[in-house]
Subunit: 461 residues, 2 copies
């Protein structure tokens, strides 16, 4: 290993390689005390340096794990003491913004919030947004195909990437920096790498698609008394808001009640007696009519008996207060250990599925705490579950949440990915033939298996 470190230091310069406490002093994952275990952290500054690192490691059969902001939740960036970490922290340049073409060219290590702010400073919008915005990197967003709150309108990260420059395991640079919305000149190579958790190549640069900034921002908080009404509320909002709908978030009473407990900072926008709460956001372009449109949509839902109460945000402060309730997920996690989940399923299966999860948890644990919320418009549910003080409950809880997805073709990962944490459950959502197909791609592009080894699936089975 010392030879590797010497050689890599020669490639990158002394400042480009960290060892010892500069490695072990780093946090390995948010919401834990774990620190990074690795032989070294290498910090290339550009695509060519990434290529040189990979060429060297490929020849040496040296495993490489890419680190972005380390905000992932599935142990997708976990390392062993003999791994080398490739950190994108020195690749943090926004290279250019094309205002007319509405694109931004970036290095992979740029933080999401930096991308958002740079777009905004040019009067444009990069619509991806998640709680980790201040720490996560665009490279990590691409590697995990990150989602967030506005998928219903703008799609996931995949839909916001026009081009990518990827370094293959052997150091080959495949530069496919397309900056056009339409380009069918041969295979769309970036698609092979997006959402593959760093297992097929290292994304070094990307071209991002920017959008127009919204002129108006309307948020409404609504109470609903039956699950069956939620899809109709979604459908009517989607239709009446005509393309301006950006979010359709649902909170179950367990979640909302926790957020509105007296010791929290949140004021309940509407009373606590509904089983379901919906937070809808619409971004429009016409200050004269957008409020009226939202009001008449809400009135119509009320007249049809689909909602029992509603509060439309009357100010930016009120809008922010509504969203603070939805975003205060850490309040679910004050009791340790709390296990957090991210699944997706058909909306039509959702009510029965949640009942089944609770039935299994009751049978297994008797008492437990569960908070349920999610991006209903995308079929994406989150749970935060606490069953007591025993961290060994994790796997039994996971089985209660994941197993019922098998029969209904649900997904054990809507947006967080598989990493190591969900690997043992992948067969619930994917067939052996699908996983074999993933292996075919992996073996074709990374035949020595040096890139993020052991994540998602075992290479040899």
């Amino acid at each position: 290993m010392d030879t590797h470190i010497t050689e890599l230091s020669a490639l990158l310069g002394g400042n480009g390689v960290l060892v010892g406490e500069d490695v072990s002093g780093r946090s390995a994952r948010i919401w834990t005390d774990e620190t990074v275990q690795a032989a070294a952290i290498v910090r290339p500054r550009n695509t060519n340096e990434v290529s040189e690192v990979l060429r060297y490691c490929h020849a040496a059969n040296q495993p490489i794990v890419v680190h972005g902001g380390l905000t992932g939740l599935v142990d997708g960036a976990r390392t062993t003491p003999s791994d080398i970490v490739l950190s994108t922290e020195s690749m943090n340049k926004i290279e250019s913004i094309d205002k007319t073409g509405r694109t931004m060219t970036v290095q992979a290590g740029v933080k999401l919030q930096h991308v958002q702010e740079a777009a905004e400073s040019e009067g444009l919008l990069f619509p991806l947004d998640l709680g980790a915005r201040g720490s996560c990197t665009i490279g990590g967003n691409i590697a995990t195909n990150a989602g967030g709150n506005r998928v219903i309108r703008y799609g996931m990260t995949r839909d916001m990437v026009l081009g990518a420059e990827v370094v293959l395991a052997d150091g080959t640079i495949v530069s496919s920096m397309n900056d056009m919305i339409k380009n069918n000149a041969g295979y769309d190579l970036k698609q092979v790498f997006i959402g593959t958790e760093g297992s097929l190549g290292v994304v070094a640069r990307a071209v991002l698609r920017l959008r127009e900034q919204p002129v108006t921002d309307e948020s409404v908080f609504m109470g609903v008394d039956e699950f069956d009404k939620l899809p109709t509320v979604l459908k009517q909002m989607d239709q009446r808001l005509g393309g301006t709908l950006t979010s359709f978030e649902v909170m179950w009473n367990d979640f909302y009640s926790l957020m509105c407990e007296p010791d929290s900072n949140h004021q309940p926008p509407i009373p606590l007696d509904f089983p379901y709460y919906v937070l809808v956001e619409a971004w429009g372009g016409d200050a004269d009519t957008d409020r009226q449109r939202m009001e008449s949509a809400v009135e119509s839902l009320y007249e049809d008996g689909l909602i029992g109460n509603a509060a439309i945000a009357q100010s930016v402060a009120q809008r922010n207060a509504f969203w603070a309730i939805r975003d205060d997920v850490e309040r679910c996690m004050t009791v340790h250990p709390t296990f957090v989940f991210d699944v997706s399923l058909r909306i039509g299966d959702m009510e029965n599925y949640i009942e089944e999860v609770n039935r299994r948890l009751t049978k297994e644990f008797g008492t437990y705490r569960i908070y349920t919320f999610g991006h209903l418009g995308d079929g994406n549910l989150h749970f935060a579950i606490n069953t007591g003080a025993d961290p060994n409950d994790q796997h039994p809880v996971e089985r209660c949440v994941y197993e019922p997805l098998r029969a209904i073709n649900g997904s054990i990962s809507a947006e967080h990915g598989i990493g190591l944490e969900k690997k043992q459950y992948l067969d619930i959502s994917r067939s052996e033939i699908e996983v074999d197909f993933m292996r075919t791609l992996k073996k074709s592009l990374d035949p020595k298996g040096i890139l993020n080894p052991g994540k998602i699936f075992e290479l040899n089975c």
Copy 2:
């Protein structure tokens, strides 16, 4: 070959295999008199039969070309007399529609128009639309990642496909019929196949994402006097229409004047003295305010001097008349031979590029006719060019159109694909390393090269 036909007939039944005049009597491509040349046409009825056909052909090293509606424009489905055609015409079932989940499950041979109508009958929308809707199949749309007029809002076919069932060259069925908007459980396998022109696998079934039907449909025809104003018109419309904008089509004066000639059926909505015409469409959800929103957007453009004239459609008939002008592309093609192009580039490069194409055409041919139009919002330009009676002018014309894209990283194919027709120009838009990467995928998934051989690139170089 007789053995193959006997064996395939045994697999599919007599009606499943066509030979002789049933093959040679078929049109091979729209807008030509060519007929299909192939040893046989096989017509599997389901995924298992596709698998059996491929398993047999793989063992026999027999090339296979998939035929959908044969509306492609780049010779992507061309066959040789020794090929076997796999037609999806007997795989034309809409299997199910999930109204709550807003998805449709289909076989690959269902015609696009049939998909559109089935969605509409459930009060939903499948937003992909192109002139070939009555003939093209959803499988062909997926294989070519078809675009059309509404890409700016709904994306290309890739963005409308949630799941796919694909048969690999050796007959392996990879069924990945995801029906959720969010699913990050391992690699997103469909992405490998979409837009690869049938060269990596045969899409047999798919899950399509449906949307809400629009409540309102506003169209406006505008005249613009300088190219530099077009990106600002696009930007302002995109911002003010706040997510309802579905199309931003631009016609150059050459195109518009041809459409409005006295012998055509079209009435000019505005005078013929502008160099550029824009047709904007917005689909909204609020009958009370959408017209007002469009009117104030148009007024604002006029006040800012960005447009010189505008007509807002006052009826469905007028709206259809506006679009008939844009869609009457065949009027450009009454003189034979007319060569049709589909390129994409940054909007900021567009004016110089068009000048350069015309400079080259003038230098090469002296006189010629050119009609210019396209989906400006996507950077997508179309040309229809006639240089006289000589069909051998095709390649010199292609060079005039494609070569100037090299320096500006433009694409020789925005939405039509590469097929055979553009294969010799692929190096203008893609590097040798990118094409090598395509070969790596091809060799990994179709090692014998039996699927649509010779299209897009040469397998061995």
